[in-house]
């Protein structure tokens, strides 16, 4: 896969900032915010004209649900990928609805053999409609289900191998999960197939009452940047991107975060 270097999650709130990053070659957009056939959001078309790769990132497919993915949502994701000329798409290993009830956010899937089968079936259904590869992102979870049969590494490895999907690794939630459970984040890096990593999410978080939350609205802490360096020492992923979802800081501060990711990964600065 092409090396894109440091990227950023494109959001309408900071579209003017993203447009002015001279070295940018990679961005991600929430797939559900793009019309499959209408006008692209303001500023996104200009990024595409500049040759920036824009990857649609689904949040509502519910690949981790027990029921099959909704065909209309898969069709939309595939159409958006075509519309953006995207090199790949990504989605979460999580469920957002069950029995017709919308949870409104991403919920963790129990790591059971049964769940693996359901996810594999859903990923295959999705891939059948896509003309580009899909990268799967495990989510941060504050708890483990009591009936987990597999550890995180084995769970992910099995899903990726059986579906031939790529991995979207979120170093911030690797850090959050390890910190909240008192485990070693490096052990997880060593237990997943790093050669399958398509790109990496980097986000900030904050601690409340002893629990670290992967908020996406705070600064990226140093331990997350250190984890990037550790990851890149093992195998440097083609792209790493800053994921900021709110409480956007001053432009100088955002540029500082992008530069810190570049420094930690050894990619050139995009600012």
């Amino acid at each position: 896969m092409t090396a894109y270097g440091v990227g950023i999650g494109w959001r309408p709130e900071i579209a003017g900032f993203v447009a002015q990053l001279p070295g940018l070659r990679f961005a991600e957009v929430v797939a559900e915010s793009v019309h499959a056939h209408g006008d692209l959001p303001v500023g996104l078309a200009e990024l595409r004209e500049r040759g920036v790769a824009v990857v649609p990132h689904g949040v509502k497919l519910s690949l981790g649900g027990a029921e099959p993915v909704e065909p209309a949502r898969v069709t939309h994701l595939a159409a958006v990928a075509e519309r953006l000329g995207a090199p790949l798409v990504s989605e979460h290993i999580a469920y957002v609805r069950a029995g017709g009830v919308e949870a409104g956010h991403l919920l963790p899937v129990p790591r059971s053999r049964e769940a693996v089968d359901a996810i594999v079936a859903n990923v295959r259904r999705t891939r059948a409609e896509l003309s580009v590869p899909i990268a799967l992102e495990p989510i941060a979870a504050l708890f483990d289900w009591p009936d987990d049969e597999l550890d995180e590494g084995a769970f992910l490895t099995e899903i990726l191998e059986r579906t031939d999907a790529l991995l979207l690794l979120d170093v911030a939630n690797v850090y959050a999960n390890a910190r909240n459970r008192g485990t070693d984040p490096l052990a997880l890096l060593d237990s997943v197939p790093l050669e399958r990593v398509a790109y990496v999410h980097v986000a900030g978080g904050a601690e409340h009452d002893g629990i670290y939350h992967d908020t996406h609205t705070d600064a990226v802490p140093q331990p997350v940047l250190d984890l990037i360096t550790e990851l890149c020492a093992r195998r440097r992923p083609p792209a790493l991107m800053l994921e900021r979802d709110g409480d956007y800081p001053a432009a100088a501060e955002l540029r500082g975060e992008l530069d810190a990711i570049a420094a930690a990964s050894g990619y050139p600065a995009v600012t």
Binding site: P12, E13, I14, A15, G16, A19, V42, Y248, A250, A251
Partner: protein, 307 residues
């Protein structure tokens, strides 16, 4: 009965007079429009995209919007805040590289002026005048002299109205039917009022440049929920300049509402269905009719929107 020539008012048959009257009225309108086009052409060589937010704001929304654009910039820079009773106060140092208008507003905030009284403050008024005169000298804003010249056509309109009234009086005394004459007179009167009251701030050259600026800063539209913390003071000021004071309400609703900021729309933005503020600046006639059809910015790239 019109064909019976006996006793025609002023010796001219009614239909002939009506045709002549309406022809002259339309001719006056056309000549006035051509003259306006020439008077308000402006200078196309000036780069509108080099203007500051306050200058853009004057062109899109007038003097008050220029003041509010500066206020938005100063607020985003943390230089001023809103106090009790809709007053302003200085909450931080004046940033570097400010304009005379910024300076005037900052000093007025030092006197705890009420936000709505800013536009009447003598130093603010002087700074706005300076800003306006600069734009006039560059051929971007219409000068009062040219606006007056354009309004002289109302004299021709008034003459037509007087003529029509004279004919109406004599016609009624002669017991002639005057229904169509009343309609023609209404047309002439309406045209005259338009000629006398139509305003215009930005020249055609400025309007053309503004459309490009609006596309360039489309990310500042309130519908994008722009992060003003990221875009900084200049972004905040430009947001107000291009999208009206609605941008101030998006940026800092507590401040905008607390200070009682007037709702002012910028010309060329689609009206957001905001009650009570429809087309405040859209009384400026032709500048608005081209603006509103070109609203969203998307459909107007190829230069097919007049200009």
């Amino acid at each position: 009965m019109y064909l019976a020539a006996q006793g025609d008012t002023w010796g001219i048959p009614g239909p002939a007079f009506l045709v002549l009257y309406l022809t002259v009225t339309i001719a006056v309108m056309i000549l006035a429009a051509i003259h306006r086009r020439i008077l308000f052409a402006g200078d196309r060589r000036v780069a509108v995209d080099r203007l500051g937010p306050q200058q853009i704001a004057y062109l899109t929304g007038g003097e008050h919007l220029a003041v509010y654009a500066a206020l938005g910039g100063l607020r985003a820079a943390g230089a001023i805040a809103g106090g009790t009773g809709k007053t302003l106060y200085q909450s931080g140092p004046l940033p570097a590289g400010v304009t005379p208008l910024d300076n005037a507003i900052y000093n007025a905030a030092g006197r705890q002026i009420r936000a709505r009284e800013l536009t009447g403050d003598q130093w603010v008024v002087a700074a706005v005048r300076q800003l306006r005169e600069g734009l006039e000298a560059q051929g971007l804003a219409v000068t009062p002299a040219r606006l007056k010249a354009a309004r002289m056509w109302a004299v021709a309109g008034a003459a037509l109205v007087l003529l029509g009234v004279g004919r109406l009086v004599d016609g009624v005394q002669n017991d002639k039917p005057v229904g169509f004459l009343v309609v023609a007179l209404a047309v002439a009167a309406f045209a005259t009022i338009r000629l006398l009251t139509r305003k215009r701030r930005a020249t055609h050259a400025a309007d053309k440049g503004l459309r490009a600026v609006r596309t360039q800063y489309a990310y500042l539209a309130p519908s994008q929920a722009p992060s003003y913390a990221t875009y900084g003071a200049t972004g905040a000021a430009m947001g107000v300049a291009l999208y009206g004071t609605a941008a101030l309400y998006t940026m800092d609703p507590a401040f905008a509402a607390g200070a009682g900021i007037q709702r002012i729309q910028a010309a060329g933005t689609p009206s957001g269905g905001d009650s009570g503020s429809t087309s405040y600046s859209c009384s400026s006639g032709s500048s608005c009719s081209s603006g509103s059809s070109c609203g969203g910015g998307g459909g107007c790239g190829g230069g097919g929107c007049g200009g």
